[in-house]
């Protein structure tokens, strides 16, 4: 199949950036989007050009490293799917694609489609953990956790840290990311003792990183590869209110 690609090229964070056009005509519908870029890059390299810089590691939709904006869709035109799990059969033969990096103030562009998402790591560092040292744990079955609660914690814990929620939000808010981790930990009995501190620290860090506020449009849940629910944000707001009393 054939595709026309307009790919975002930018040499660094200070560069303005622009779209570069490529025509590809020997593609297979079974290719994933990163595989299409691999294919394109070999052509660029052989013609003496600079290949498109993009990140992609597991190619199974779980590591959270890939993620582009394709024709305005975060990650993919398919719902709840990462870029690496998007195959060319999702597009029409002859279609034109605009491929851009995730854009947010807190995610500076490093080069082409590569962005710096270390702000998310710093949010985790500020309180996205349970403060247990190796060796301190008690017997696993001595803390009973109901099946439904364990499943609910899992739903929140499933976040892959790709940043799609931020990229799609008109405010570039990281509320879905932050609230998912916070709720995962704070709803479990093991994580409850630190819940009040956790909510303060993580929200302060989130704001310091330059992420926007949440106006509850729900756009984040729509693009999340793990379908993480916006109710996590409601719950986080509740925790914030209680902790500030």
């Amino acid at each position: 199949m054939k595709l026309t690609l307009h790919i975002w090229r930018q040499t660094g964070n200070k560069d303005k950036g622009t779209f570069e056009t490529h025509h590809l005509d020997d593609l297979s519908p079974d290719m994933s989007v990163p595989e299409m870029l691999d294919h394109l890059n070999i052509q660029i390299i052989k013609s003496g050009g600079d290949p498109v810089a993009f990140e992609s590691d597991c190619r199974e939709g779980i590591c959270g490293q890939c993620g582009f904006v394709i024709n305005g869709h975060i990650h993919s035109p398919e719902s709840h799917t990462t870029t690496c799990q998007t195959h060319l059969r999702s597009f029409k033969d002859g279609e034109t694609l605009h491929i851009e990096p995730f854009r947010a103030k807190a995610f500076p562009i490093k080069k082409d489609l590569m962005i710096d998402r270390s702000a998310l790591d710093r949010i985790i560092e500020s309180g996205g953990y349970i403060g247990v040292n190796t060796g301190q744990a008690n017997e696993a079955n001595s803390t009973l956790i109901n099946h439904d609660l364990a499943e609910k914690a899992f739903d929140a814990a499933a976040c892959i840290g790709c940043g799609a929620c931020v990229a799609t939000c008109k405010n570039a808010s990281a509320m879905l990311f932050t609230s998912a981790k916070m709720n995962h930990l704070s709803m479990l009995p093991q994580g409850a003792p630190e819940a009040a501190q956790r909510v303060k620290n993580m929200i302060v860090q989130m704001d310091a990183e330059g992420f926007g506020s949440c106006t509850f449009t729900g756009a984040c849940e729509v693009v999340c590869p793990q379908s993480i629910s916006v109710f996590n944000i409601t719950e986080m707001n509740g925790r914030w209110l209680w902790s500030s009393k």
Binding site: P34, K110, R117, I130
Partner: protein
């Protein structure tokens, strides 16, 4: 003669004896010792966090943009522990025996026993970190049976156990990163080990964003850089998995053990075409309910649903009635290859077998199957566009896990003084074949429970010097940096016509066909000359664009492929030397009349550990495996 330093005493007392006698360092003095950890997967992150909790000075390096991305994240099925929560007869001894037997008696008894012994503590630790393992309605932890054993000892978090365990370790690491005594460097790749007087004293890294080359001193070096199955190009591994860290250590004197022992996972998705960059794994748990078959007739192109029962060959059930579809990975993969080679493979490239849920759906209903495997069925549909509720899945064996790796003793220290190797990067616990759900376990146990004890024991005998770098370190560091720069520039300056990726594909093809699921002397001799030729062409015709002082993925790949090309030759050498079949290593010349592996305990009951001599030359060292507590048996799953 290699000394594995196994502590004295009865099997169940060895680890306790070791811990009781291990030397300690006063809490106030620990910050004077610097430990470098390379890799932030399960083994790297868990050890780094644990070292920092103890008060050591820790510096951590990963080539990823975040410590949460390592490929531990992709392990789906679960993690084993001998808790015996299911009252089904499990015990540390049974888990030890299953693992040892699963590895075809090519692992150390003491190491394997310790793995089983520490397994229970790991579940406690992970639960305390908030890992959301599956639970019963009563609130108790749930288990399932996994990977060719008769008990239910596997703990799991849906199909994302690896991700959840890694997040636990990553969060513990990030918690320490906020403290003064741990520094995390993302986007830094280790390209050399600095040795002084035969001791590992530091590393040289490249900042992948700026291209800067820097050296870092340490009192103990921990490499936890994962497996190298990606050497086969098409594998279940992530795109960036590589052997460079362990290969660089190897060239500086660390022995490489059993490099040819790579596990081929039986339930990967088959290759669909030439464009493909990797193979996606479907969890082995699918084999609990799916039945594996191929058409009896070769080249049968009918739709699978139109093939009547009596024209299907459920070959695993036929050949291994006791274990059936749950036969261990090496056996299942080989049986699939046997049928595919016989012309009975299915799919457009005739390279797959069917995994059929029709009977399970009939027995349990679609809802139960969806509850158990829903995410995997969705994933299958996303990748292949096919609905596995309506027709059988197509699966095929794919390069997966490296049982081989840097040789380590009982303390997980390599023969290179001061270098510790954890997780998949080492050779130690899995013998010639790894059992399902033991990989997450080994990475975690190495990192959380073993390395903190053994590295402290080691450091207690060392004078801390890394924090005040000496002249001799500065000299060695400069030489190391120069060497790395020289290598990078050499790769950039070839300016040929073929990309690193294309070389990697050719390398993978040679290894898959001539030193893959099964091997023979004739093919491997041919592979050797093909590999040598490919290596020569690489240094004449490689094309790397760009410069060293910039983000340059092609340069990163080229460096890794250069190491893979060397390692491939050692893999073939290792497989050639081992004239027996054991576990994942199947030499066609050594099989029973009915096609099963023929082990040779008289001549090959040892670990092959190779010393690097340069110029594709190696010297073999042997570590004899003494079985004091179990009797060697023929591994049968019939």
């Amino acid at each position: 003669m290699l000394n594995s330093r196994i502590p004295a005493g009865a099997l169940e007392e060895k680890w306790t004896n070791y811990k009781n006698r291990a030397k300690l360092i006063n809490p106030a003095n620990r910050r004077r010792y610097k430990i470098i950890v390379v890799g932030t997967g399960l083994a790297g992150a868990s050890s780094a966090a644990s070292f920092a909790e103890l008060g050591f000075n820790v510096e951590v390096f990963t080539f990823h943009d975040s410590a949460r991305r390592a490929h531990s994240v992709a392990a789906q099925g679960g993690v084993n522990a001998a808790k015996d929560y299911q009252n089904d007869g499990d015990s540390v001894w049974r888990m030890f025996y299953d693992t040892l037997k699963g590895g075809d008696f090519r692992a150390r008894e003491a190491n394997v026993y310790r793995l089983a012994e520490c397994s229970m503590e790991l579940i406690d630790q992970a639960v305390a970190q908030g890992v959301p393992f599956a639970r019963e309605y009563s609130g108790y932890l749930s288990n399932r049976s996994f990977g060719g054993v008769q008990v239910s000892r596997t703990f799991y978090a849906r199909g994302q156990t690896g991700q959840q365990l890694l997040l636990g370790a990553y969060q513990a690491l990030m918690r320490q990163n906020a403290q003064d005594n741990l520094t995390l460097h993302t986007r830094h790749e280790m390209l050399d080990v600095i040795t002084i007087g035969g001791k590992a004293k530091g590393i040289t890294v490249r900042n992948l964003d700026t291209g800067d080359i820097t050296s870092h001193a340490c009192d103990a070096l921990v490499i936890a850089s994962g497996g190298y199955g990606k050497i086969y190009y098409l594998s279940t591994l992530a795109m960036n998995c590589n052997a460079t860290a362990i290969w660089r250590a190897h060239t500086k004197g660390a022995l490489m053990a059993a490099p040819s022992w790579t596990q081929f996972h039986p339930t990967s998705l088959p290759q669909l075409g030439d464009h493909q960059s990797k193979l996606t794994l479907m969890s082995e748990s699918l084999r609990n309910d799916g039945r594996i078959w191929v058409p009896k007739k070769p080249n049968d192109t009918r739709n699978p649903n139109e093939i009547p029962e009596n024209e299907r060959d459920y070959y695993l059930e036929r050949r291994y009635p006791a274990f059936g579809n749950l036969a261990p990975r090496d056996i299942s993969s080989r049986a699939a290859k046997e049928r595919i080679d016989a012309g009975c493979g299915v799919g457009p490239m005739k390279n797959a077998v069917y995994l059929d849920f029709k009977h399970a759906i009939g027995r349990l209903g679609k809802e139960v199957i969806a509850q158990r495997y829903g995410n995997l069925f969705t994933m299958y549909q996303k990748i292949t566009g096919m609905d596995a509720y309506q027709e059988p899945m197509m699966i095929a064996p794919a390069a997966h896990f490296s049982m081989g790796g840097l040789w380590v003793d009982y303390r997980l220290m390599s023969n290179l003084h001061g270098l510790f190797v954890l997780g998949e990067a080492n050779f130690s616990d899995h013998g010639a074949n790894r059992l399902g759900a033991n990989s997450l376990l080994q990475a975690c146990v190495d990192g959380y429970f073993i390395a903190p004890r053994t590295v402290m024991d080691f450091l207690a005998e060392e004078t801390p010097e890394a924090l005040n770098a000496s002249d001799s370190f500065e000299q060695a560091a400069k030489a190391s940096k120069d060497e790395v720069e020289k290598k990078l520039n050499a790769l950039l300056n070839i300016k040929g016509t073929t990309t690193a990726e294309e070389f990697h594909k050719q390398l993978g093809r040679i290894l898959y066909t001539k030193c893959g699921l099964s091997r023979n002397g004739k093919d491997m001799a041919a592979a050797k000359s093909e590999l040598l030729e490919l290596q020569q062409t690489f240094y004449k015709d490689l094309l790397v664009p760009g410069t060293e002082k910039d983000i340059n993925f092609e340069l990163e790949k080229a460096f890794r492929v250069a190491d893979y090309l060397e390692m491939a030759l050692l893999i073939v050498e290792d497989a050639l030397q081992r004239e027996e079949s054991c576990g994942a290593h199947f030499r066609e010349e050594y099989q029973t009349p009915d096609g099963e592996a023929l082990r040779n305990d008289n001549d090959f009951c040892f670990v092959s550990a190779w010393k690097y001599l340069g110029d594709n030359k190696y010297q073999l060292h042997k570590e004899h495996l003494n079985f004091e507590f179990v009797e060697l048996q023929t591994r049968s799953y019939k």
